[in-house]
Structures are given as structure tokens and as C-alpha cells.
Symmetry: C2
Subunit: 322 residues, 2 copies
Amino acid sequence: MAAPLVAAAAVASAADPLPSWNDGAPKKAIFEFVRRVTREGSADYIAPRERIAVFDNDGTLWAEQPIYFQFAFAIDRVKTLSSVHPEWRTTAPFKDVLTGDIKALAASGKQGLLQVMAASHSGITTEDFNTIVGSWLATAKHPRFQRRYTELAYQPMLELLDYLRSQDFKTFIVSGGGVEFMRVFAEQVYGIPPEQVIGSSAATKFVPVGTDGKPALIKEPHVEFIDDGIGKPSGINRFIGRRPLLAFGNSDGDLPMLQWTAGGAGPRFVALIHHTDADREFAYDRQSAVGKLDKALDEAQRQQWLIIDMKRDWLRVFSAGK
Amino acid sequence: MAAPLVAAAAVASAADPLPSWNDGAPKKAIFEFVRRVTREGSADYIAPRERIAVFDNDGTLWAEQPIYFQFAFAIDRVKTLSSVHPEWRTTAPFKDVLTGDIKALAASGKQGLLQVMAASHSGITTEDFNTIVGSWLATAKHPRFQRRYTELAYQPMLELLDYLRSQDFKTFIVSGGGVEFMRVFAEQVYGIPPEQVIGSSAATKFVPVGTDGKPALIKEPHVEFIDDGIGKPSGINRFIGRRPLLAFGNSDGDLPMLQWTAGGAGPRFVALIHHTDADREFAYDRQSAVGKLDKALDEAQRQQWLIIDMKRDWLRVFSAGK
């Protein structure tokens, strides 16, 4: 009886673009909104070119615990580079990275974090950086799930991205993460091309004649733009130049993006993902050091924005495994 | 005999995607390059998602003489705002703008220029700014041609943009001009949507509750990014994240963009537009205060990049009129 069951499952999947979503209110709300703005002749019809959908990345499209995955990359990169930086063994914050003293590292604060990010993300060409990130993603594993980080993308969100694109939405990432880090995997994992990835960035410097005799862009150690908090509406304005129709986030850093989206004229759709599933993923909100969700949760309740309860609303969490 | 002639012209136009280009070497080179990278199975085939084409705006897609059109807007805006800024009548550089003393204005240098740009481009919401630019474009006229500025787009370049898009290229503007200024007309005039317009920008500030009670983005007076010269490869990297396959410019400010494009692996196409037509448009290069073309002309000759001679290669110049 296996074959007919498999065939029936395939039919169900073809009919339902969001098979990993429980048949609850959030799924229904998504379908209703998309139908409302895409049905020609309807009062709320929006032309395809204005169907902009924006998504935070960490905690919205893939996991972010116990530390941001990009920071795990930075730690591994500092370890690799330490062979040519013997002085790091005795200098904070690098010695704390090398000895794995996360408490001391945390005590070095934002300044320490920026030093680690700068040392691990600069001084090389943009093309070499892409190669290094690609190699890391191909081998590094998440400490709890023992899977590659790109396998910890959320299956329900991958289905949502595909569904929206099938309805002529243009999907963008708007994340506090580094734009060049995300672009290495965003197209393959999310189907989002580099030019639709918006993130934080450090400066780059153009050199007409690089070390190989060709023009190069060198990644510099100073921050140029932080695409988080009130930076997100500015980033959307600078990179997209249209107000989104639909926005998904999961933390207080997404609140201004959700407010900016919700504040537009006509129909808008904003949603928060609430991490409520300690068994399959993680459960955290108001007290979390990573992905804190406090003010945005209050505001979502006040404004009756959609709140997605991961445990209740998602039948499956990750793109790989359960 | 009029009807058959018109019909014949329509057939010719349907067969040739670049009817405003003379049948010379530049037109042939464009067709050859596009065929080379789009023919499936060819060694130089490039997938559609990597077919990125970038264009400077001022002097490449529309005219830029006698002054950048955005600066003409700034001057008109300062005149409008002077009614609520009586102090400008006695303060440089504003008094020079109001009295039309271009020589004194030029003497105020870069600092004076930035003051005029800041005063005319900030202190309002992004949405109000769009409305103001739209109204100006609908009424202001070019001093020599007595046409609206958007009618001074180059017809051969509009045909080239359309042709490239028909071959699955994604077309971007990469200009030193203000990104929010260009976006007001880029979609309608060039068919380039806001998210594919890259330009210089001033900071914006997100305000959760604006004057109308809704979230707003306020344009601030300080420059955030100059998308000119060595800023262009950085801008391409930040906004697009792929190296272009094809780049068009017309001045020394485009040289790094052309170098960055030409330096990529595999087939690349870079071209300069040389303003050689004083009768139909303007003739200028090495000595021009606006759109100076000197080092880039030398480099184009050295590297055998395509140099488009406006007088020789374009049968028609503007989208409106001759």
C-alpha cells in the first residue's frame, strides 16, 4: 500500500503550496491576503511590480541560536587566522575567542564584537571572502543539530517564499546580518538572488590593479551601514525604493520594518515568528540575548499583527530533518 | 503612397531592435556580444540570472549639459523655498542661486554645492520629496531645447535597454545622481524599477510617528554615499552583489565601473559614449566642467573598449524630437 500513499501525498502537496504549515489561522490569513491583492479587478489589486515582500533572515528564514551563525563563522575564522596572528593569544577579545571563553567575550561588549567581526571579515577581496564563506558553509556544523547551517533554513518559510514568487511577488531579505555573508547562500537556499539581499555592510575599496594585476574590491574593517532596528526602513528605502506590501520578522530589531510596512496606504501584511518550540528548535522571546522579542511582541498584540507560533503553526521546522 | 511606406518602416523597426543606431561597428559589436553570451551551448553562455547590465545616467541615458538636471531642480527648489528663508537673500551660496550668479556659485566650490543640495533635498519625508520632484519634472523645461527633461532621454539607449531586457538582461542604473531623484522617473522613462536604481544618497531617519500620525522617513542633510568614481564598483558590490557583464558610461567618473566590469572573467562588454554632436546635442570631453571625459577616453583607446561617437553612430538622439 506504500505507492498509493506516496502518490496521494504528492497530490496534496501539489494542491497546497504551504504543506508544512498547519491548517490554522496564519496559513489562512496568508492565502487570503495574497488573493486579495492579486485578484485583477479587486479594489485592493496591486500590480506585480509593486508586490514587494521583505524578510528578516536570522530567526525568520533560518535559526539564530545559540549564537548568530555568522558569528560562529567569525569565531572559526579567527581560529584559522590565529596562526598568522600570534599576538591574538594574549589580546582580548581574540584570546577569549581562541580559548572559547564566551563569558569574557561577552564582557568585551559591542566593541569586542566589532573587533572580531572586522578581523574575520576584512583585508581580503570580496571574491576571496565569498570563497571562504562558501567553504565554511560546506563543512561547519551546528553544535546542537549537527547539521550544516544551511540545512537549518525553515521549511515553512521556503514554501512561503516560493508561493509568493509564484504570485509575482519579489522577495527580499532585509537583515542585520552581513550582506556579503548572506549572498553566498541566499540564492541556492532561499531562491533570493544577490541583488535582493539587503544587510549590514563594511566599506569596500576599489583598487584598479590588485595583487593579481586585475581590478579588485578590498573589504575594509570599518562598518558602513547597520541594517537593523531603525536602519531597516532606511535600508528598504535605499535599496528597494518602494514600501513593502508584506514583511516578516521575529525580533525587536524588526519592529521599525514592520511599522514602516504596516503604515503604508492600502492592504499590508506584517507578521512575527514566535520561537515557541524548545523540542524541535528553540523557545525564547523577551529575555533572550540573541533575537530578543519584547517590544515588537507587545506592538504585534496591540496592532493585531499576525503572530506565528512555531510549535502550533509549523508541521515541520527545518528544510532538512524533522 | 504614404501607407505602404509607413508599413515598411514598421517592418524594419520590428526586425531591428536598434533602429536609431547607425549600421556601424558599435551596433554590430552589441549584437555580437549579446548573441555570444545568450546562445545556449556556446562556450561563453551566461545564465540569465547573471546577465547584469549597468548604465551611468547623466550623459549616458539622458543629457547632462549645461548643468546636471538634478542641479537645475535644486536651483528651482531653492528659489521656491526662499520665500520662507529670507536670510538666503544675503547668504552665499543661496544669494548667488537666487540672483543667478553662476560664477559666484561656482566659486563657492564643493562646499557651496553640497549646501544647495542639502537645503533643496532634505527636511521632508521621502514621499513628499517624490511628489515635489514629480511636479518639477512635469513642468520644468531645458533652457536650450525647451522640452521637459525626461524628453531628453537618448532614444538609442532606450532601444538598447529594451533589447537587452528582451534577451533576459537585468538593467541597472549606477549613477552619481541622487537615487531618490532618479527613481521618480526611471521606471516610466527607462523601464528600470526603483530597486534597480543605484545612486548617491543622503541619510534618512525613521520616525515611528510622523506629523500625520503615521511612520515616516525623513530626508536628512548629510551625505551617506557618493556613487561616483571609485564609489561605483563599491555601489555595484553593495547593491547588486554580482559583477556586471556589460557597462556603459561617458565620463571619468565611470572609469572604475568600466574597469571593474572589464576585469571580470569571461566575456565582458564596456563602452563609452562620446559627446561629439554640437548640433543635435553637445560636443564636449577633456575640458568640460560637467561630464569630463579625459582619463577614461585614454583608457578606452588603450584597452580597445567600444567608443560610441554620438554624431556618427546615432541616427536620432532624443526620445522626443530629432
